[in-house]
């Protein structure tokens, strides 16, 4: 086993995903204690250019038409042979719809242990994971075998994993990638919404706690008073109360508004990952134990409906005056 820390870079439609930079930042932290290099593993087809922004000591790049898009069947073959061969100290994946598909499979295929949902590496080099919707943290040590780790956002700023100094890239031939059992048929772009919430500076976000569709309207009213727009967490969108284009979080949009006002949002990691970078987060929730209060700068523990009318009124007043 060598002491390098690998990070499996994720990209989507020619863009490096933010989670990759977060992984590189976490990898750097692990490499400090292991004494190895940070190695970015990039898979793609004609995607070498994506390596340029990666803050890694080295980049291993696999180029193959079968790797042009994410296909767990193909990616697993490549990664399994790489990891088996090199046995790095640890391999980092994003806890995303790419990395999470890979990490568990590799753990089973290679019989290497897996630590899931790692939020950050503690000063002592411990893996700190977040579970139970963010209500519980766990601490574990790297195993003596190559350890696979999935990283959730929140522990590191993506900037830490980004660098303009183009790293040293080694292009490696991919093993035979035939007889794949999974094929991409097509990408379906998200329906263009009426607004692009990722560009808005004031977001009023509603979660499960708003309990019914009528209350989306109340949130709309508040947003209107503010000149902002309404967005939502997954359950609200799943209910069909707001279109998918308004969804914030893991499979929705990533937003960075000036103000993120979270109404009735509990703050599950899947949601937090889409809004943690907001400049100011204010959470209103009747459950004092909601994890949203852990990431918000300001919190109000109150039944939303007791407050919202007064709030709308005051905001409208302030705007009007």
């Amino acid at each position: 086993m060598n002491q390098d820390i690998y990070a499996v870079v994720e990209s989507l439609q020619g863009q490096v995903a933010d989670i990759s930079y977060i992984m590189l930042a976490a990898a750097r932290s692990l490499a400090h204690s292991s004494g190895g290099d940070v190695v970015a593993v990039l898979l793609g087809n004609g995607s070498q250019g994506l390596a340029n922004t990666l803050a890694a000591d080295r980049v291993i790049y696999y180029d193959n038409p079968a790797l042009a898009y994410f296909n767990s069947d193909a990616y697993l073959k490549v990664l399994a042979s790489l990891i088996r061969q090199n046995e790095p100290r640890a391999v980092l994946f994003g806890n995303t719809s790419i990395g999470a598909d890979l990490a568990s499979c590799l753990s089973a295929r290679l019989d290497f242990p897996l630590a899931n949902s790692c939020h950050h590496i503690s000063a002592e080099g411990m893996l700190i994971s977040q579970v139970c919707g963010g209500k519980i943290m766990t601490e574990s040590v790297l195993s003596d075998k190559t350890t696979l780790i999935t990283i959730i956002p929140g522990g590191y700023k993506p900037e830490l994993g980004r660098s303009d100094a183009a790293p040293n890239v080694t292009q490696v031939d991919a093993p035979a990638l035939e007889d794949l059992r999974i094929k991409l048929k097509q990408y379906i772009e998200p329906e263009a919404g009426d607004v692009d919430i990722s560009k808005e500076s004031i977001l009023i976000s509603v979660g499960r706690g708003i309990s019914n569709q009528d209350n989306v309207e109340i949130a709309e009213e508040l947003a209107e008073a503010f000149g902002g727009v309404v967005c939502a967490s997954r359950p609200v969108v799943d209910q069909g109360w707001l279109p998918t284009s308004r969804m914030v979080g893991k499979s929705g949009q990533k937003v960075k508004p000036k103000l993120y006002l979270a109404l009735g949002i509990s703050g599950a990691p899947e949601h937090v990952e889409g809004m943690a970078d907001s400049e100011t987060i204010i959470a209103i929730n009747s459950d004092p134990t909601a994890p949203i209060f852990d990431i918000a700068q300001y919190g109000v523990e109150i039944d939303l409906f007791d407050l919202i009318d007064t709030l709308i009124e005051k905001v409208a007043e302030a705007k009007g005056g």
């Binding site: 309990s211 019914n212 569709q213 009528d214 209910q239 009747s286 109150i302 039944d303 409906f305 007791d306 009318d309």
Partner: protein, 666 residues
């Protein structure tokens, strides 16, 4: 001596008129009965059997009360007087004819003063009848209130009965004009009309001939009227008494029947006409389309798809349209629930029972709605919010989706700690209920209630996390299995606790604990806190130091008032705090529902024009000098505080729980 003469002025040329009269009438009655049978048999052919022949004395008493004396019809003045004029006119004419038959064939008694009285009464009711008919015509053609179905069938019936009655009057007047008896004024209406014939100067033979013609016409129109009863609106002369007689007498309105089962023990969920009982189908045919239910219905007033009258008429329509097709075994018959009656109609009902209270012919709307909802629930045809609430009730025993352990969180600041009825015996078991336990806006009031109980020296306890939602509204949503489960859990907790009586602030829990747990709860007395506090005042255990002197109005919760008749205790209590109760126009049994009942509080509001709660707040705010809207139901606190905000009435009126007045006055 004045006496009744058989067939005055009717020639015996073709034999005794008896032959004509009785054969024509007999034929008419036969036609009527046959047609009615053909019309009505579908009730029991399609409908499920249900035993409604027992306790004849109660049923007969209901007939007397609601059919003869028409007490419910008389609740509304104009239509009440109108209808009593018409109906009693008909009763009296019917009895008059019956007496005449007896007099003619059996005992001759209509002579002398008896005869004069007889004539007078008949004439008097002729006048009443004409007044009633005029009122009906004015109402139907000039006033045209929206609740009435303005179909031509009514015109036919009205014209026919007027023709029949005026025909009788004309016959009498012609006879009087010929006879000119000294006692003519005993038939005031007839005698007055006779003056006209006399003034025209008709000769006795001419008038007698006219009499014969009018008599024959009268005979004919009566026969036509009788024969056409089953196809006219007058069918209610048959269906209304039947419906009244066969109405439910086994259960109070607050007790729903469990889901019916087939012989093989399978549950019957109502989605087709033949899943209803014959009395539920009879309900449809008994409807007189008077529209009182529609006027009283909060769902209709709010502009939701439910109109209780239309719902019942839809059952009637479906029965006569689809019933024969069902009997023929046609599998393509449109379903009652979903096709003839849409889901959203059923979901709009708040089960406030205002329709049931209003219905003059004792139609049981709520029972039928719940029966059909049960089908929707078993099919999973429920909205997302309701699904969430029901799942929460099943999982956590409360609709808030909070932990059972948080149920007694509100007790944290209360000293001394409230007794745990499962651990030590108490006099009163306080069944707190979901809203009082979990709703953030209710916690203060619940604490206050505990403090008042303490100050009154009440020996009480609660069941902490063992209490579950009582299930009243789960049952009314149609989730019978969930209701049974909640009952089982609460019963288990009851059996572990020691207490003498139950007290609750929640009328919904009160209703189900009182009526629907009774078969199995060992018959603990159940009190609403207003009743209990009222009792404590009369026994001197609770005294007030202050007289508050506010002018308040009081909102009767449906499940306390209309369902359980508790009207006076809360009012006495309010008076005892030194407040003056100014009644809203709709109060006591006519109180207007807040819109939250029957599980509506858990459902998506849908398309609503005017929220019932806002309507109600406006009603209260219009009362002069009233600044406090007193409620006695935790859901009402939530509903009306919201309504005060949304109507912008904060300056005008505040919503207070009964206990807040009590606390202030102690």
């Amino acid at each position: 001596m004045p006496e009744r003469i058989d067939y005055w002025g009717i020639p015996y040329t073709w034999g005794s008129p008896n032959i004509f009269v009785y054969s024509i009438m007999g034929l008419a009655v036969l036609i009527m009965l046959a047609r009615f049978y053909l019309y009505a048999r579908i009730w029991w052919q399609v409908g499920r059997p249900e035993m409604r022949w027992d306790k004849l004395h109660i049923r007969t008493w209901r007939l007397i009360k609601y059919v003869i004396f028409q007490v419910k019809v008389l609740w509304e003045r104009y239509p009440g007087i109108m209808h009593i004029g018409l109906a009693w006119g008909f009763f009296i004419f019917f009895m008059g004819t019956a007496l005449a038959t007896i007099d003619s064939h059996f005992i001759k008694f209509l002579s002398g003063n008896t005869y004069l009285l007889y004539k007078f009464v008949l004439d008097l009711f002729t006048v009443f009848f004409i007044v009633g008919a005029a009122m009906a015509a004015y109402r139907r053609y000039i006033q045209r209130p929206s609740r009435l179905t303005l179909s031509s069938g009514f015109t036919y019936s009205l014209v026919m009965i007027v023709v029949v009655v005026t025909g009788g009057l004309a016959t009498e007047s012609l006879r009087l004009a010929v006879e000119r008896p000294a006692w003519g004024w005993w038939s005031p209406a007839g005698w007055l009309l006779a003056q006209l014939w006399m003034a025209i100067g008709g000769s006795a033979p001419a008038l007698t001939s006219w009499h014969l013609i009018v008599w024959a016409l009268h005979l004919f129109t009566v026969a036509v009227l009788i024969a056409t009863v089953p196809s006219s609106t007058l069918i209610h002369l048959l269906t209304a008494p039947l419906n009244t007689f066969f109405s439910n007498i086994d259960r109070p309105v607050g007790e729903l029947a469990p889901i019916a089962e087939t012989d093989t023990g399978e549950s019957i969920f109502v989605d087709s006409l033949d899943d209803l009982t014959w009395t539920q189908l009879l309900n449809g045919d008994a409807c007189t389309e008077c529209g009182r239910c529609q006027d009283a219905c909060p769902a209709h007033a709010a502009g939701t798809p439910l109109n209780p009258k239309e719902l019942i008429l839809n059952i009637r329509g479906a029965l006569h349209k689809d019933g024969p097709s069902i009997l023929a075994g046609n599998g393509n018959t449109p379903l009652l629930v979903g096709e003839r009656i849409k889901d959203d109609v059923l979901w709009s009902c708040t089960t406030c029972a205002a329709c049931v209270r209003e219905c003059p012919v004792l139609i049981e709307h709520v029972d039928t709605i719940v029966d059909m909802r049960r089908h929707l629930v078993i099919e999973g045809r429920i909205d997302d919010m309701l699904q969430e609430a029901l799942s929460n009730l099943g999982r956590y025993g409360n609709s808030f989706g909070q932990s059972e352990r948080a149920r007694a969180k509100w007790t944290r600041n209360i000293e001394p700690k409230i007794k745990d009825a499962r651990k030590e015996s108490v006099d009163y078991l306080w069944f707190v209920g979901d809203y009082a336990s979990y709703s953030a806006s209710m916690v203060d009031i619940t604490e206050m209630t505990a403090n008042v109980f303490n100050k009154a020296g009440l020996d009480f306890g609660i069941m902490y996390e063992a209490e579950q939602n009582a299930g009243n509204d789960a049952r009314r949503v149609g989730e019978e299995g969930l209701f049974e489960m909640l009952v089982e859990k609460n019963m288990k907790a009851f059996s572990k606790s020691k207490f003498n009586a139950i007290v609750t602030t929640d009328p919904h829990s009160y209703n189900t604990l009182k009526h629907e747990y009774n078969s199995s709860n060992g018959h603990y007395p159940v009190f609403h806190y207003s009743e209990l506090l009222d009792k404590l005042i009369t026994t001197g255990k609770l005294t007030f130091k202050k007289k508050l002197g506010y002018k308040v109005t009081y909102h009767d919760p449906c499940y306390l008032g209309r369902y359980n008749g508790v009207y006076d205790a809360p009012r006495r209590l309010i008076s005892a705090t030194g407040c003056e109760v100014i009644e809203m126009p709709r109060h006591r049994d006519r109180a207007f529902c807040c819109g939250a009942g029957g599980g509506r509080i858990w459902m998506d509001e849908g398309e609503v024009e005017v929220r019932p709660s806002e309507d109600r707040i406006r009603e209260a705010a219009a009362l002069e000098g009233v600044t406090i809207f007193v409620v006695a139901c935790p859901k009402d606190v939530t509903m009306y505080r919201d309504a005060v905000k949304t109507t912008g009435m904060e300056e005008k009126i505040v919503v207070k729980d009964l206990i807040e007045l009590v606390e202030e006055a102690i």
